[in-house]
Symmetry: D2
Subunit: 324 residues, 4 copies
């Protein structure tokens, strides 16, 4: 292996830059020529590829977003698009790939590898922490802390006005952000896609709190909860409890994706980036690098996409006990 | 004057606690007995009043929200309600009041003073900075910094994906938060209630940026803009520009109200609190304390409510020049 | 078991309050009467003990420091002192203890348990992460993030002035904070007590960076490094390299202990607090609760104190590779 | 005027980049060719000068430090050095200069202007706020907030352990940072170079607090206080009070210079940058742009350097009243 290219794809996540830095410097350290592909699969097709040296990744470990940019590519979903991508890579002499991203990224990588066999190792970069094969994904810890800061701020208002706040956080299929920011923020209730929390139970809990003279309550809702989005849920509950509770809603939205990465994400991203490039050098292919129980492991792309990642049931139980 | 009571009313704002601390300690320093009324006018009616000493306000200068809580009181809008409030105050021997809040708070205070003549001095506590009689209100600087942090985070994603973001910030009648966070965040466009920004102009600016190879753009929208809320504006623009621009929307919402106050707000709150209590001792009444050109001034409640507070036109001009 | 008392001891650490909250609410949830001992062993002797209910621990999950305060107690090191402590506990009917703290705390708990057999479970609360029996201690993640924020700020100046900065972080016997904040902050060199980094090597690395046109460099030094404190090390190096490098030093100091806890520390503290009280109920005694590989484990106090906690050698290797 | 060059000099300050952006875009907006000089007077001599366009200053409004770097130049203090600088500027056709910096920067600019008459306008960029001719300097608000965050963290520990903390902040000749962060942080005492606070008084205040059952105290010391540096002062006081008070010291150091600028500093920097370039175009020369009472004013360099900037005596009085 001589020339390896790296790209980011899918939604950006804090720590992607720290990961890029680790891959590039790790590759150079081991004697490889390193290249960056701009805008993921789209740049792979259009040939937006540039040589990277140690200085190209200076002073980025602390930055949010991705210096290699990210974009969707419909064209890469077609055999013709992938053929173009392959031709471009060949014209640059690329003989190895590092892909940073999530589900969609690895689905593409899996298909591409099966067709053209360019050795590829992935790094899990997504705030949702919904990938099998790693305890945590790059960006998750930062997203949780960002959500938590927002919850801390909202609690000031909730307490000052004796209000109930429904706060929606990211997580279409996964309640990880909701649970962790809920526990961290001292939420009374956390609603996640993985388990069903009936509205009746939410109402009972809120009313009970009221009786125990709780002056305010926080309900954290993952965007993918089966009872609907936070505004919808709040509306339903308002209808049932009337004026007794002063209910407000806020949706955190895009702020959860950005920001400089936390220490945890910088270190995780560095370990995974270095692990991925060294894995690639040592013959790993068609796999994602992950950290499980503090060890570096490689999991086939197909498993990272298809296998379910169970939620921590004991954390949900904890929400209940700690909010009494 | 012997016994002075303090209360907070209206939406909570960061720095209210620093202001309470300055009022209480300033009063005690000058030999007064100090009382806190819980939940504003509502607590004034129900008699939720407590003695405060120096220790009651320890370790709160850095906290968001208000330890005296805030609430709406319909009853205080009626003569009967105000009579009850007056009776309660008399029964506690209160002969002076400090009111921290915004428009609604001072409207109530004005009416109450005209009826019962209890000397009252106000402190401007609202994130909107929409009160005549002070350059800045308590909470404004913190709200701007909170919005700015959010914009900084969103810019990471905007840059990574070459997107246009419409970000809605607070300000029903006032564009102060929008303008300051827009300039601070390097926004391409700022839309405020005070001046009309036609959608045509917004589109032209965004397209021009595109031609000059700006990879992403930020538009900050005050919630009270005459073109509508951010999601609405974004929808209209999407219809006109089609797929050329990848447009996203986010509404910052309640996070802007909370959080520990900035240095600026803590100092402003401390100066206004101390100024208000010393003003009250010196015979000021029915006025709001403010800082204009770095000097303490007192403005009749009626003027703070009715007189318009002009926006900085030169700051809007600056947005335009600095986004080229 | 009916009455359990909790106390914090040793240096304060962010997350101690979240842990107190989890212990108290967990105990109440399981039907126990919960008590708080103020100022650790010192309050145990003087009888500064108070009943705690659910509301006593409201709104503290996000606060730094410890609401139960901490203090050194020389008296507890004597048999007479411990006798007094025992008598006080008996007079309150306390039949179980939860101790939050570090090395010194558990040494005291071990001795006390051997003498009086009151079942005691510990929670690891120290920013240094130097306790065997848990992957991470409460407060460590926050301390690393605080150090990292400081390093990020100093790098601005280092880059602007092409300087070399020596930054001293906490860690008398342990390089954990230094290594993690060094990797996260993109440091060129990390010096820790566990391994010896000769000054010659430091100089070579700095000079090499200079040749590769690195405009600035960061060296993170743990306070317990065998080459001395950061100012000392910097002085020695200045003598050898002369004016070629513009060297500055900063010691982060006490800011590393304080601040609201990160999400990670709040969740860790909550898990350990709940785990400790449930462990105590289930018969655990004379042990510390810890999380190893994401599982709750109990380790005898004697092991937590005496067994060495190895540093991550692979992280040190990473510093070297990533700084090229 | 056709070609204007901008440079930063002296210690870096947060907001310098926002100022560079405003100068460059303002100049381009008004039809000028804009140039950046790297490393201040040193780069002016060596000819490290580059053309700047709108994109050169993209995405820097939020960054600490200075992208144009800063350095000391002994050579510029000599007539020969300044001759070289002049020749370099002439060879690039530069006919106007914008200098961002503090005292030393403007002293150099004053001498240079008197010798060679290249129209020069300055922008006050220094965290110390020690320049006459502007209410606040670029970087001051950020430095105060950074100090305040540190004080907030240290208070957690001070409270948890009932300690007295002496915290040294920057300010060799000026107590501005000390006073504002002291008030904001709820300090019991603030010691500044402008007024003398006898140690006897410090001791009395600390002891009084103790009697009023204050559990902890914060003393903020400006580095230029006439009683010495914080460690020295603490040592003297320890000798006099003995073990009664548990006294600790921390010196904030270089973290105060760095970090992304606050909203206030970004807006101030933008206003001053645009004001400076438009002033230069309109014929201003040998002056510094400042904001006094919210208006843009120009003050001769010689006055900004020589005239004293008085401290807010009323703020010092406030520290005393608010710490009771």
């Amino acid at each position: 292996m001589k020339k390896v290219a790296i790209f980011t794809s899918g939604g950006d996540a804090p720590g992607m830059n720290a990961c890029i830095r680790a891959v590039v410097r790790g590759g150079i350290y081991h004697g490889l020529d390193m290249y960056g592909i701009v805008r993921g699969y789209s740049g792979m097709i259009s040939g937006d590829i540039k040589k990277m040296d140690s200085r190209s990744v200076s002073n980025i470990v602390q930055r949010g977003g991705t210096i290699l940019k990210s974009a969707r590519s419909m064209e890469f979903m077609t055999p013709e698009g992938r053929k173009k991508a392959y031709d471009t890579l060949m014209s640059h002499g690329i003989d190895g790939l590092i892909a940073i991203g999530g589900n969609g990224t690895f689905t593409g990588a899996e298909v591409f590898f099966n067709e053209y066999q360019i050795p590829t190792v992935g790094c899990p970069g997504t705030i949702d922490n919904d990938l099998y094969g790693t305890d945590y994904t790059i960006g998750f810890d930062t997203a949780v802390n960002t959500s938590l800061e927002a919850i801390d701020k909202i609690r000031d208002t909730a307490d000052s006005h004796d209000r109930v706040f429904f706060i929606e956080v990211m997580g279409r299929d996964s309640g990880y952000i909701a649970i962790q920011s809920g526990i961290g923020g001292g939420a009374e209730i956390v609603m996640v896609p993985e388990t069903h929390t009936p509205l009746k139970k939410v109402i009972t809990t809120l009313k009970d709190g009221w009786k125990r003279s709780k002056s305010s309550s926080i309900v954290v809702v993952a965007e993918g909860d089966e009872e609907g989005h936070a505004p919808e849920i709040a509306e339903k509950i308002k209808k049932q409890v009337g004026d007794k509770l002063d209910i407000r809603v806020t949706t955190l939205g895009h702020i959860q994706r950005g920001g400089g990465p936390t220490a945890y994400d910088r270190i995780l991203a560095s370990r995974l980036g270095l692990g991925a490039i060294e894995g690639l050098i040592n013959g790993e292919k068609n796999v994602m690098a992950g950290i499980v129980n503090n060890n570096l492991v490689f999991t086939p792309f197909i498993d990272t996409i298809q296998k379910p990642k169970p939620i921590h049931e004991d954390l949900l139980r904890m929400v209940h006990i700690l909010s009494i």
